[in-house]
């Protein structure tokens, strides 16, 4: 059975609105209210405090100036960029580039074959295995000497 002290704790925990009281304790609280004038006075005092708190704390409104300032500040702030695909995908060529390249290669091959152009023949035979070859010769040809590129 709930006594007056327990009822006061109950009011302080759950507030004075019976609609918000947990069902398991509400029956005992209501029974105490039915037989105790002190409990009813405690409930009335808690309701008055609740009402005063609500009236004092729940009626303030943000000013119009604050609202306008927030909107203006937000408008002046650039937002961070969205997550994007990696750059290699953003710069990927369109699908038809591959097909166009293959077609161009095919047409060039047909043209070269049909026009009778001689096949490429190297002017010098390749060096035999073990022969020392100047790297500069490979890059620029055998005619280049040290005076040209000291």
């Amino acid at each position: 059975m709930m006594d007056l002290d327990e009822f006061q704790d109950f009011l302080d925990t759950h507030g004075p609105d019976p609609a918000t009281w947990p069902a398991e304790d509400r029956r005992q609280a209501e029974a105490l209210l039915g037989r105790s004038a002190a409990a009813r006075a405690a409930l009335a005092e808690a309701q008055r405090l609740d009402s005063l708190l609500a009236r004092t704390l729940a009626t303030e409104r943000a000013s119009e100036a604050l609202r306008a300032r927030i909107l203006a500040t937000a408008a002046g702030h650039a937002r961070p960029a969205a997550a994007r695909e990696p750059w290699r995908f953003r710069f990927a060529p369109p699908w038809w580039i591959g097909a166009a390249s293959a077609t161009a290669s095919l047409l060039l091959g047909i043209y070269v074959g049909a026009s009778g152009l001689p096949p490429f023949v190297p002017s010098e035979p390749p060096p035999a295995a073990g022969e020392i070859v100047d790297v500069a010769d490979l890059a620029f040809g055998a005619a280049i000497d040290e005076e040209t590129f000291p």
């Binding site: 009011l11 925990t13 507030g15 005063l52 004092t56 704390l57 303030e60 702030h77 969205a82």
Partner: protein, 211 residues
């Protein structure tokens, strides 16, 4: 909970940025059915300033009351609320719908910044002091009501900051016990203990001031 811990928790509802302008974001996320705030955040992420204004209108009063009660200063409360909504605007694209409720997240951000402000107060500008009320302009009954409200506001202001935050969440922001507990980063039981101590203290202070 320490401010640092609250701050660490504050951005949990945010995830990786969503691509802009593709419409993929809305199709990939689980927006809570009927959750207007999640829908507004999705529209803000797409750059709709009208949605931002609407979301602000829905929540700014509660956020302001919360900051005002915890800090105790109009000007500083306004700074905190402005900063919180700027975060909403800047980070809307990172919001994870279906997670924490927007209101609870906003209250937590406002609380963090308000408690931070209390620890590192800025000098208050002289021109922001509230205008004194003119008692002669009020009828007698309104005057008594105003005196009651002044006493209550004073009693709330004298509470320890966590009790004050709990009371401001419940009465100022309209949070349920569960929502207030989440905003404070504590269990519902711990929040109820804060409320018990706060209500006892308020009752005693109001009795003292009435005698």
């Amino acid at each position: 909970m320490a401010i640092e811990a609250l701050r660490a928790e504050a951005w949990r509802p945010f995830g990786p940025a969503a691509p802009e302008g593709t419409g993929l974001w809305r199709s990939r996320v689980a927006i809570r059915p009927g959750d207007q705030d999640d829908e507004l955040m999705a529209r803000i992420a797409a750059g709709e300033t009208g949605a931002f204004r609407r979301l602000m209108d829905r929540h700014i009063d509660a956020a302001y009351r919360l900051a005002r009660r915890v800090i105790g200063s109009d000007a500083e409360a306004e700074d905190v609320v402005q900063e919180a909504f700027l975060k909403v605007w800047m980070r809307a694209r990172f919001w994870k719908p279906g997670g924490a409720r927007f209101s609870t997240w906003l209250w937590r951000v406002v609380l963090n910044q308000s408690l931070d402000q209390l620890r590192h107060p800025k000098p208050a500008p002289l021109d922001t002091a509230p205008e004194p009320a003119d008692p002669a302009a009020d009828p007698a009954e309104a005057l008594i009501e105003r005196q009651d409200e002044t006493r209550v506001a004073q009693a709330v202001a004298e509470l320890p900051e966590r009790q004050r935050a709990a009371i401001a969440l419940i009465y100022g922001a309209g949070a349920s016990n569960a929502e207030a507990a989440e905003a404070l980063g504590i269990s519902v039981g711990a929040l109820e203990q804060l409320l018990v101590r706060a209500r006892r203290s308020l009752r005693a202070r109001l009795k003292d001031s009435a005698t």
